[in-house]
């Protein structure tokens, strides 16, 4: 009985151990069918071994070049100032608006801290509008310098302790001639 093809293939490749290999060799020597199969395997191996390298290297090189032709080449370095970016128009408009708002806000913040100016607008009718944009402490300093006195906005007067005041009515205010002191 002939051995299996897989066993024969292993025998052909020298992968069958010695006692089994000897038995297969004895069988092959007396079996025309197995000898013919092994002869076919041998002729195929020789054909592959005799194949010249140059016969497949040329097509392989062509394939390699075709693949490289489709690989994007390395882009040249572009300066940041010359680099372009593509934005959808709404995004570009929005970005420009945000930039403008940011710029105005930045300008207001930077100028307000030291905005020591007084704007005077004279209307044609004769009216005058004053706008003061001076930090509070600077107004105090200004008024102190021209007034030459204590610049505290609140003056405190202390009434003597022995003076007992009692409300005699509702608070009142008016021109002095409205409050002529009545003589008893």
């Amino acid at each position: 009985m002939c051995p299996d093809r897989e066993i024969l293939s292993a025998y052909f490749d020298g992968e069958v151990a010695a006692p089994w290999g000897r038995q297969i060799a004895e069988h092959v020597s007396g079996c025309e069918r197995c000898r013919a199969w092994l002869a076919g395997m041998e002729s195929t191996r020789r054909a592959l071994a005799d194949e010249q390298l140059h016969e497949w290297r040329a097509p392989m090189e062509r394939v390699r070049l075709r693949i490289l032709a489709h690989v994007p080449s390395e882009r040249p370095r572009v300066s940041m100032w010359r680099r372009q970016m593509t934005l959808p128009v709404p995004v570009a408009v929005l970005a420009a608006a945000l930039l403008l708002i940011l710029g105005v806000s930045l300008a207001v913040v930077t100028t307000r801290q030291d905005m020591g100016y007084i704007r005077i607008t004279k209307a044609p009718a004769g009216g005058t509008e004053y706008q003061f944009a001076v930090p509070y402490d600077k107004v105090e300093a200004l008024l102190k310098s021209v007034g030459g006195s204590d610049a505290n906005i609140e003056s405190v007067m202390t009434i003597p302790k022995n003076v007992k005041l009692v409300p005699v009515g509702e608070p009142r205010m008016g021109r002095a001639d409205e409050f002529l002191r009545k003589k008893p």
């Binding site: 940041m80 100032w81 010359r82 680099r83 372009q84 970016m85 593509t86 934005l87 959808p88 128009v89 570009a92 930039l99 403008l100 710029g103 105005v104 930045l106 300008a107 207001v108 930077t110 100028t111 905005m115 100016y117 007084i118 005077i120 009216g127 004053y130 003061f132 200004l142 008024l143 021209v146 007034g147 030459g148 006195s149 906005i153 609140e154 003056s155 405190v156 007067m157 202390t158 009434i159 003597p160 003076v163 007992k164 005041l165 009692v166 409300p167 005699v168 009515g169 509702e170 608070p171 009142r172 205010m173 008016g174 021109r175 002095a176 409050f179 002191r181 009545k182 003589k183 008893p184």
Partner: protein, 171 residues
Amino acid sequence: MKTSVRSGIVPILLALAVAHANGQAQGIETDPKEALQELLSKALTVTVSARILPPDTEEETPIWNAESTKLTIPGRSIKVRLDGDNVRIYLICTPYLQDNGEVLLLAQGQVWFTEPQDNENRYVSTFYSIPVSYGEKILFFPLGVSSADTPQKKHLNIELEIKIVPYEKKP
């Protein structure tokens, strides 16, 4: 639809925006010296004289008085506080210049008073709006006015006199 911009233009746009806003903020700035002269020409001196007068008699010599003179500009208030044993009085005066050259005095009086008998605190706040001429005397009686006709005729009167004059530079 897309648009292309050079990324380098972004900081330039930002700088332009800042410069433009700066120009907007400072473009119509007045010369500080001229502005100061204009400011001083409209400055006002507000004098508040406080007096405590004896009960309604012929004697008009105050038993106590104090005075405070403040320099201000139209629209800016001055504040005077009187501290007593059982009373605290605030007078807040804000002068405004009117088109006719007169002053509109907006005054607020606040009185905090503690009743001697029951230690109850009272608070009264009043507002007044009075057109005044320069130098005209305005009187404020924060605790009311006693007179011979009132039952409290034996009580002391406290009055605050307000006088507003244009600021004059000291020689």
